[in-house]
């Protein structure tokens, strides 16, 4: 798991132990999501799971559907959804042409293991490349939550198309990992990293994630601290100073911004359409978040840029 303390000098991550999960829906819509998922996983040297969440048949006819699927196996017609995972594996190979371990892996739809309501593709010769392909059926948030809990993923990467605005609340409230929502993500675009810095406990990890991404992708970094009043308290100022010192210690140039106003509206306006936002998860009581929302939930609802919420 990700370490929770940050010092001015060094990163306390253990990147080798990080596990990222990318949710894909189809070859047509999920290419940018998978590309970013693979990139981020390689940046952090994390193991990478790819999950496809399909629709679940009504329980009334569930056994008839299962009977049909078993019969389809006899005709070598694969379980719906497996073709998306096959595409995902192929795509991952294309994205990492130098990964010899990955190149060796062959997709075989017959080599699947059904357990805990999920279908896991068994990948032979996968030692060293740390890839997992999983098919689930049911409601998206429920299934992602189960997968994250089962495998202990640290980060869930979700495409913007899957993130209908009404899902923002559920995704941020119930997924027990950091969440990266790739809204209108363009892999060819040069983004600026925008880190939202305040006195919350999640800011430390926000900065660590930001620094690693900035180092690997070479994107310029900006920090933004927003106060509701004209006075920036010691907590806000201290957090901003710490962030600056941390980036300096790693040789990353950073631009600092201090703005006054409603935090969410200011974040959204500042982010525009060319930033890649990183912010900490809310530390509000879950019941309060459920009833009134939180800064990350509202920001995700209102902005269209890629956003990483660090937990």
């Amino acid at each position: 798991m990700v370490a929770t303390i940050m010092t001015n000098k060094k990163v306390l991550f253990d990147p080798k132990s990080l596990k990222f999960l990318t949710a894909v829906s189809s070859a047509e819509y999920s290419k940018p999501t998978l590309k970013m998922g693979a990139l981020i996983a390689s940046v952090f040297d994390a193991s990478h799971g790819v999950v496809y969440v399909g629709e679940r048949a009504s329980e009334f006819h569930g056994s008839s559907v299962n009977l049909t699927r078993q019969n389809l196996d006899n005709w070598n017609i694969i379980h719906p959804g497996l073709e998306v995972l096959e595409w995902a594996l192929q795509e991952l190979k294309t994205l990492s042409p130098d990964n010899e371990e990955l190149a060796k892996i062959q997709f075989n739809p017959d080599h699947v293991y059904e357990e805990d309501g999920r279908v896991r593709v068994i990948l032979p010769d996968d030692k060293g490349c740390r890839i997992e392909l999983v098919l689930r059926e049911g409601e998206l948030v429920d299934q992602l939550r189960k997968e994250i809990q089962l495998e202990g993923y640290d980060l869930a990467i979700i495409g913007g198309s899957q993130n209908k605005r009404h899902l923002a609340h559920s995704i941020l409230q119930y997924l027990p990992s950091s969440i990266f929502v790739l809204q209108k993500f363009n892999p060819r675009k040069k983004y600026k990293l925008l880190l939202l810095v305040d006195d919350s406990t999640a800011t430390g990890k926000t900065i660590e994630w930001g620094a690693l991404i900035a180092e690997k992708l070479g994107w310029p970094v900006r920090t933004l601290t927003v106060s509701k009043t004209k006075r920036f308290g010691a907590g806000y100022q201290g957090a901003a100073d710490k962030a600056k010192a941390y980036f300096d210690s790693r040789g990353i140039e950073v631009e600092q911004f201090f703005l006054t106003g409603d935090p969410v509206r200011t974040f959204v306006e500042f982010a525009g359409d060319n930033h890649f936002v990183i912010m900490g998860a809310s530390t509000l009581n879950p019941v309060k978040q459920f009833l009134f929302g939180s800064k990350p939930i509202k920001t995700l609802e209102q902005t269209d840029v890629p956003i990483l919420i660090v937990r």
Binding site: G54, E55, A57, S58, E59, F60, H61, G62, S63, S64, V65, N66, L67, T68, R69, Q70, N71, L72, N74, W75, I77, P80, G81, D142, R145, S170, Q173, Y174, P176, N285, P286, V287, F290
Partner: protein
């Protein structure tokens, strides 16, 4: 912190369970039953309305909903534990259990490859003929062995043809939809043809006996309903070809590849012959012995024979049979019987007749249209069999000829063309991921009109002659 999130997540997932519980408690404690409805009948209505909420929204597994319906009858004092237990199991539930197990036994024989060859030999290579063949064979087979069995056997044939026609089925969406819907709608229109075509038909037969409406034999059912199956087949083909417009008019190459594929299975084996002979015996038992032994008992006898001859393993039957559905139908029929015995069904029927009677003068038209529309709409939301289990007692109390009203209801329960949830065959093709919800609407409304017109014709022109 995490426990709060777990609780909130549980609330999110189970909100419909909570809504149903709050609704039930409020109705039971704070709402006074109408003066002409006794408290037990009122409680039966509360249980069934709560169960409907739970079935449609699925916050609980089906067996849990079944158990809820059973214990609530005793908790609310509607009946004693022993009476509830005895109303839970009857021949209709035996039939549903037997037909689900027979489906597993039949599908596991690999007869679908023979079926594929048979259809292709009959139809040739032209797309419209293949669609017609799929529809007709699905309809005729489904009328005897049930739509879920036919759809499970026909799906691989349809998908293989599509795959051979184009590597990416989405590039031949019209052909894919036409073939898959010919299986689903073919099986659905066929399922009304005989009592063994669907569990809902047997549930209705059970209600006829329970309501003292008389009995209908297997052959009598065929005589009343089969003309509608035959009438609908050609029109279904026209509707499907008109709606989905296949990209290829000839599937020459795909058919040849399919034939090569199927030919690998070799000649029909003794084991397969035995499986066919056993099913024919079961069918003959349904036709000639069901009046004495019951359809369910004969279905169970068939399962016994398949097990005895080693054509299927118990472990396989056990694993692939949906026991939850069996429990649910047992419980739904049990509460349906309580609706009859407590007078709840009669009360609802009276309310409907009184209110709609002001709009429609003719009682026969009123009874017919209420039973057909209520059943047709509900079967698109629930499932066809569950609809008959719930609606059956009400429509049989609407007045008029209970047998004819029952036929109309059982037939209308197959009008689940609009959604993927109504009929197992529709769910099966939807689960392929190759047809969309809107496809059901595109073709479904036309099928709905066709079926309504056919049922009207059947009741006005055919039934008076019998």
């Amino acid at each position: 912190m995490n426990s709060y999130i777990d609780i909130l997540f549980w609330i999110r997932q189970k909100k419909w369970l909570l809504i149903a519980m709050v609704y039930g408690m409020c109705m039971h404690h704070f709402v006074t039953p109408p003066t002409d409805l006794n408290p037990a009948a009122f409680d039966a209505l509360i249980i069934i309305s709560m169960a409907l909420i739970l079935i449609v929204t699925e916050p609980l597994p089906l067996p849990a909903i079944a158990m809820f319906m059973l214990f609530m009858q005793v908790v609310l004092g509607i009946d004693t534990a022993n009476n509830v237990a005895s109303s839970f199991m009857n021949d209709a539930v035996f039939f549903i259990m037997g037909s689900l197990m027979l489906a597993v036994a039949i599908v596991s024989q690999g007869l679908d490859k023979r079926l594929a060859l048979g259809i292709i030999t009959l139809t040739g290579h032209k797309t419209w003929r293949i669609v017609a063949g799929f529809t007709a064979i699905s309809a005729i087979l489904a009328s005897f062995i049930g739509e879920h069995t036919v759809a499970a056997m026909m799906m691989p044939v349809g998908l293989t043809l599509v795959r051979y026609a184009h590597k990416d089925p989405r590039k031949v969406a019209g052909l894919t939809a036409a073939l898959l819907f010919s299986i689903a709608y073919g099986a659905t229109i066929g399922s009304i043809g005989t009592p063994s075509g669907g569990g809902r038909n047997v549930i209705m037969m059970n209600y006829w006996a329970e309501f003292g409406a008389g009995s209908v034999t297997y052959l009598e059912w065929i005589k009343y309903v089969y003309p509608m199956v035959l009438f609908q087949i050609p029109f279904t083909v026209i509707i499907l070809l008109w709606t989905f417009k296949p990209e290829h008019s000839n599937l020459d190459s795909a058919v040849r590849k399919l034939v090569v594929d199927v030919a690998r299975a070799g000649k029909i084996k003794g084991r397969e012959w035995l499986a066919i002979i056993l099913f024919i015996l079961v069918f003959l038992g349904w036709v000639f012995l069901s009046e004495d032994f019951g359809l369910g008992i004969i279905a169970l006898l068939g399962v016994f024979l398949y097990l005895s001859f080693g054509l299927v393993e118990w472990q396989e039957l056990n694993r692939k049979t949906n026991w939850g559905v069996i429990l649910l139908f047992g419980a739904a029929i049990s509460i349906g019987i309580q609706m009859n015995q407590t007078g709840a069904a009669e009360w609802i029927a009276h309310v409907i007749i009184t209110n709609l009677g002001r709009v429609i003068d003719n009682p026969a038209i009123l009874q017919g249209s209420v039973s057909v529309l209520l059943t047709g709409v509900m079967s698109n939301i629930l499932s066809s069999s569950a609809t008959v289990a719930v609606v059956g007692p009400i429509v049989l109390d609407l007045g008029g000829d209970q047998i004819l009203i029952g036929f109309a209801t059982a037939i209308a329960s197959a009008f689940g063309y609009f959604t993927a949830v109504a009929a197992p065959a529709c769910t099966i093709i939807y689960s392929s991921g190759l047809v969309k919800s809107k496809d059901f609407l595109r073709a479904g409304w036309k099928m709905g009109v066709l079926s309504l017109v056919s049922l009207l014709g059947l009741s006005l022109l055919w039934w008076p002659l019998l």
